[in-house]
């Protein structure tokens, strides 16, 4: 053993003890690429983002259309933004569930043993999932179009609305990523997340006019940030208005990220 030259570590100063910002970004992009590859390999993961917009749009439109707006056609401008927000936000739950599953797998040990930014697997997962939101958004609008939805705000404003919803879903995904990091099992992540999500999406103006609700409920619906998001999408799609609802939605998204990103990152680093 002593005769041969051993591989020795590089001269000391060359070994850094911290990751540069550039490398962190690079690592996160690689992890996002991994997320996309996985998505391509397991297309069944996309079932929720493809089927939910199709089925919900059809169901809600035909069940509630007559009752709420008199006919299906005039219900579309109400329901499409509602379904859009509900679907995309629900999709962001998957981020947390998959993060938990991933962290429990052996491959995570390898990520932890590599000289990479420790935040990269988390950042990569959050980044890759924006693709899912984009798919859900596109499908919902397409479904609406097929049913006869013609937003008068124009394509440009519809695109702005789409980006707005994706940004807000990304912000919400930090909440579910937090549960993903602290929870013990993937199914408990799903459970807690849906418990939060249901009241948020249904106690909003997404599906029915607020006027029809009792007073005490209206109070909640008005402060529910998702109501503002739905309104912002409606305003953009219907008239191209960029108003206070859009501002409130973005502020809400920023607040969520400001609270949950550090919480998630701190817990993630402790565990990872």
């Amino acid at each position: 053993m002593s005769s041969q030259q051993a591989i020795l570590p590089e001269v000391e100063p060359l070994l850094k003890n911290r990751v540069s910002l550039g490398q962190s970004v690079q690592n996160s992009l690689t992890m996002a690429y991994r997320g996309l590859l996985k998505l391509r390999r397991t297309p069944e993961q996309l079932i929720d983002v493809t089927l939910q917009p199709l089925i919900f749009t059809l169901m809600f439109t035909y069940i509630f259309g007559g009752a709420i707006s008199g006919n299906v056609h005039s219900y579309l401008p109400v329901i499409i933004p509602g379904i859009l927000v509900q679907t995309v936000i629900t999709t962001s739950v998957v981020t947390g569930v998959q993060l938990r599953e991933d962290m429990d797998k052996g491959v995570f040990d390898r990520f932890k043993s590599l000289p990479i930014a420790r935040i990269a697997p988390l950042a990569g997962a959050l980044l890759a999932d924006t693709i899912r939101y984009a798919i859900a958004t596109t499908l919902t609008f397409t479904m609406g179009y097929i049913l006869g939805y013609r937003p008068s705000g124009g394509l440009g404003h519809v695109a702005v609305a789409a980006v707005l919803v994706i940004v807000c879903a990304w912000a919400m995904s930090w909440i579910f990523a937090f549960f993903g990091v602290i929870a013990r099992t993937a199914s408990s992540v799903q459970g807690i997340s849906l418990l939060i999500l249901f009241p948020l999406t249904f106690l909003s103006n997404a599906f029915v006019p607020v006027k029809t609700m009792p007073h005490w409920l209206q109070w909640f619906v008005h402060i529910n940030p998702l109501s503002h998001l739905v309104s912002a999408v409606r305003e953009l799609a219907d008239s191209g208005t960029i108003g206070s609802n859009l501002g409130i939605s973005l502020i809400g998204a920023a607040v969520v990220v400001l609270i949950f990103a550090p919480l998630t990152v701190r817990n993630y680093m402790r565990r990872a």
Binding site: M1, S2, Q4, Q5, A6, I7, L8, P9, E10, V11, L15, K16, N17, R18, V19, Q23, Q26, N27, T30, M31, Y33, R34, L37, K38, R41, T42, K105, G106, V107, F108, D109, R110, F111, K112, S113, L114, P115, I116, A120
Partner: protein
Amino acid sequence: MSRASNSEIKRESMWAVEAESLVKSFGTHRAVDGIHMQVRTGTIYGVLGPNGAGKTTTIRMLATLLKPDAGTARIFGHDVVREPYRVRQLIGVTGQYASVDETLSATENLVIFSRLLGLSRSDAKRKAAELLEEFDLVEAAKRPLKKFSGGMRRRLDLAASLIAQPPLIFLDEPTTGLDPRTRSQMWDTIRRLVKTGSTVLLTTQYLDEADQLADRIAVIDHGRVVAEGTVDELKMSVGTSSLQLQLKNAAEIQSACRMIEKVLGVKAIVSSEAGGITAPMADADRVTDLLLYFRESGIGLAEMSVQKPTLDEVFLTITGHDTGQNLGKTPEGAASEEEFLS
């Protein structure tokens, strides 16, 4: 990146691993209970122990995956707790359980790990192809890992640990669950690694594996090192090989035992099998005399073999208690431990 460079041997670089009094508890259970370990650069070091001895926990602490509760560990002089990022540039880890992505293909796995290690897109592709070639995985490169056999998975796992040509490689039970052929292929691979200058720390449950590969061995049990040394030193501490005889006629057992005591000068033990005798064999040369005596007195042998000390015996001798399981045996059964004399 830890691209290998043969710099001058510094004093602290003599030791690839230095662990002092490492402790890790899970709840009230001390999985690792004050482990000391020194691994010389450029050697293969074997950590031998039964299930639950604390092998994996030790490796995880050395590989910065788990924080020790107490004690210190340095990898090429770098502290695993204070300089984890430096340590990670120096090591490759192949865990006990597959640490590759099940849903992706072999190529995709290797490309992603290469990209994470800072290789450019084209370099990553080239490296992946190179490793797949080296580990005989080319045909399976595009299939998702779900369809891989245990041996292929293990090879891919090892390949993934070698992307950066790390100076120190941890292998946690690299051959558990492999068939004999795949197992010896893995041994060859490990030997080749050390030839190219890497240091290897591996864990195993098999004495013969440690025997085949390791320059030095630490035997651990209940989170403590109970013996340390070269393979020969360890075996010597256990004592000699034993001679195992099976008589054709069980009725002759008493006279056979008397003869063994007279010729070999040791006490023979009658084993539970009918006609079976075990005797310590200090001097193989005298066995020739014994066989001649048997021939003269007309005692017929049905079978005879020499049993080298097994991990079971190492344990029995060192700890005074049994491993409680069938250790020391290779997956093919105990036969490979025996050398037939005739």
